[in-house]
């Protein structure tokens, strides 16, 4: 089993850290993982993306040309990567910031207004990215919630561990929304 | 009977390749005497440059490293950071230090590396056969300024000591000459001070020594001493340019 994910958005939306967290969660589960960032001359505000592979076997090529899942937090990222997604793959869209429809008909699409959800349910838009990550783990089961929380403990410095409960709630919010949406998709499909 | 004059221990018995009348030999000896007097011959590592003194490592009875052109201050930085308790000095000419190695000397001084630099300024490239140096005087003829150096387009001579003295990291900067016994004696004192500054851990120290090059200046040794006094001293005034008890790093 191997899951290849591209995560993309504006710099500052937490795309890189979300990818790292995912990779670390895979590592916590004893899987083979890799994380590659895009890197460019822009330091802040530009588009950022990273590629994460979580696999049961050795990751031969860490370069992802055709992701199984694409997670996009802004419109330019959707436009840039949509065509690359594997046929029948998954697409997670931050509909708070993306007001266009995807072109592809073969993808399993999940739209989440994560900015609003973060504001309404958690009163903090800074954990928007964690909501979409929660939706991703519910959809793919690539890693468990516990592994992500375990990874958080490792990547956050000790004095930031007070943020873990908030992040947990954000992840759970995403999981719940995804579950409802999946049921909805099934009943429609 | 007690000998009153002998070869310093810090010099080898090898006969130098320097031209007759060249003052490199005097300067070598002064450094060696200072090292002997300070009792640090076995604690000292020297860095020789590219230029006439490229073979200095054969003449000093010390551990030596030969550096690429202009890079002696960087090489000395590497040595000193590994052996902070040892004495490290560079011996550099004007082309080496003030042209191709300008960045290295400026930044070694800016970092206040605890090294000592002996900068030999004879206003010409010696080893390569008398080309214009960064310290060549205006109107001075050389192989690459055959009509005499002109400010346009060849630029003005660089006063290294004054320039480096403006840096906060420079602890001791002096310009001396070796054209007569009194000045030789003063030069030795300055060189000793520069080594003492290093040993006290105060900071970067440099002594610029005005030197002769009879061969490439096209004159006799005696004439060259006179030429130095008449032409170099007005442009390169002698004296201590900076003497700071402490540098704040």
């Amino acid at each position: 089993m191997s899951q290849e994910i591209i995560l993309a958005g504006f710099g500052g939306q937490g795309v890189m850290s979300m990818g790292q967290l995912l990779a670390y969660a895979g590592l916590v589960e004893g899987k083979q993982v890799s994380w590659i960032p895009s890197y460019g001359p822009e330091m802040r505000g530009g588009t950022a993306n990273c590629s994460v592979t979580i696999s049961d076997e050795e990751v031969s090529s860490p370069i992802i040309a055709e992701p199984d899942t694409l997670i996009v937090l802004n419109r330019p990222s959707l436009e840039k990567f949509e065509q690359d997604v594997k046929p029948g793959g998954r697409l997670l869209i931050n509909s708070s910031l993306i007001d266009i429809e995807p072109q592809r008909q073969d993808l399993q699409v999940l739209k989440l207004p994560v900015n609003e959800l973060a504001q309404e349910k958690l009163g903090n838009t800074r954990v928007s990215n964690m909501i979409i990550l929660g939706a991703f783990i519910e959809l793919t089961r690539s890693v468990t919630l516990e592994s992500v929380l375990g990874a958080l403990k490792k990547v956050l410095p000790e004095y930031r561990h007070n943020l873990i409960p908030l992040n947990r709630r954000a992840l759970e919010t995403g999981m719940k929304v995804a579950k409802t949406e999946i049921l909805h998709l099934r009943s429609c499909g | 009977m007690r000998p009153v004059f002998h070869r310093p221990e810090a010099l080898t018995a090898i006969k130098t390749h320097y031209c007759p009348g060249c003052t490199h030999g005097i300067i070598h000896r002064l450094i060696a005497e200072v090292i002997d007097e300070l009792g640090v011959r076995e604690e000292t590592i020297g860095v020789s440059p590219v230029g006439c003194s490229v073979l200095a490592y054969s003449y000093f009875n010390l551990d030596m490293q030969q550096a690429a052109h202009g890079r002696a201050p960087a090489v000395a930085t590497g040595i000193k950071r590994v052996h902070p308790q040892k004495v490290v000095f560079t011996y550099q000419g004007d082309g080496d230090l003030a042209a191709i190695g300008t960045a290295e000397i400026v930044h070694a001084a800016a970092r206040s590396e605890k090294i000592t630099t002996i900068f030999v300024n004879n206003a010409i490239y010696g080893m390569t056969g008398g080309q214009m140096a960064p310290t060549t005087l205006l109107r001075q003829k050389s192989m690459t300024s055959p009509k005499g150096r002109e400010a346009a387009p060849q630029g003005y001579p660089i006063r290294v000591s004054e320039m480096l003295a403006t840096l906060d990291g420079a602890a001791y900067i002096a310009r001396v000459s070796v054209h007569n016994p009194q000045e030789v004696s003063k030069a030795k004192k300055a060189i000793k001070t520069a080594f003492e500054y290093q040993m006290a851990g105060i900071g970067f120290a440099l002594v610029e020594v005005l030197s002769t090059c009879p061969t490439n200046w096209g004159c006799t040794p005696t004439e060259s001493l006179k030429w130095l006094v008449e032409n170099m001293l007005p442009v390169y005034p002698l004296g201590v340019k900076k003497m700071q008890r402490e540098v704040s790093i």
Partner: protein, 356 residues
Amino acid sequence: MAKVLMKGNEALAEAAIRAGCRYFFGYPITPQNEIPEYLAKRLPEVGGVFVQAESEIAAINMVYGAAGAGARVMTSSSGPGISLKQEGITYIAGAELPCVIVNIQRGGPGLGGIQPAQSDYFQAVKGGGHGDYKLLVLAPATVQEMVDLMGKAFDLADEYRNPVMILGDGILGQMMEPVELTEQNHTQRTEKPWATTGAKGRSPNVITSLFLDPVELEKHNLHLQTKYDRMSQETLWENYKTKDAELVLVGYGTSARIAKAAVDQAREQGIKAGLFRPISLFPFPKNALQEACKQANHVLTVEMSMGQLVEDVRYNLEFKVPVHLYGRVGGMVPTTRSVLEEVKRWVNSGEGGGNL
């Protein structure tokens, strides 16, 4: 020890410290900045020295000084910076000083770009500066291998009194992978009686690459050549499904990983493909390459350059097998699919053949 997730650049820097390196001299350049940044923080913690030099040239000459003084020392950079360092590198090779130089390659020529490339291969394996000399060149393909080769690099440098280059690329430097940082005991096993430490109770040591007498300089060059010949025992490589391979892919570093994925996909389609991955680029694992290509009708190099490794592969296979090139440049990275297409193209071409 448990695995941790680390960036290649940072893992490599940590591995250097664990290999006993206490001195780093460098200058900022993308995509290797995490190395100096990490060491600026870590070296003082272990009693080491970090100096950000005024230039790449100064940095490599500081390495020269520190290496001559007997220390385990390193520097790192990327293409444009490595070009600037060539002066110092040839002096270090000429004076026979041990040190490690890391090149996290980016696209060239000139200022080029900052995305990954492998176009500094010739510069790394053929000398790079003036004069006849060679570096030992090691090319890791994973973050773990970056760590594992670091200790080896310092040991080889000391053993041969020669600069060793770790040749990575922007992807390896920037990517994160799980890595196990083994506790290494590399506290400088090699004695360095030649180092300049102050001539206490012995005759002076001189570090130089100057030999004005042609007889002496030729003798010195012959001595260096003997050393480079002796290095041939240090070859490192990886074979992947080459035993029955009719087409052998050859690549190093990141390209080799992409090629490996292509091998698996080709095998799924019934194509007998394999991968030969040189880990030491100098010395080049000639015998191993020949062995790996025994059954091959075609050899295809995959590289992020216009064709540099391909020349060494042709030469080392003694032109007995057709060797083709698939190269992407400028920061463009080959995809598994495009490599697979090249594989199919040559397999279906009906040409090829030859025997080793």
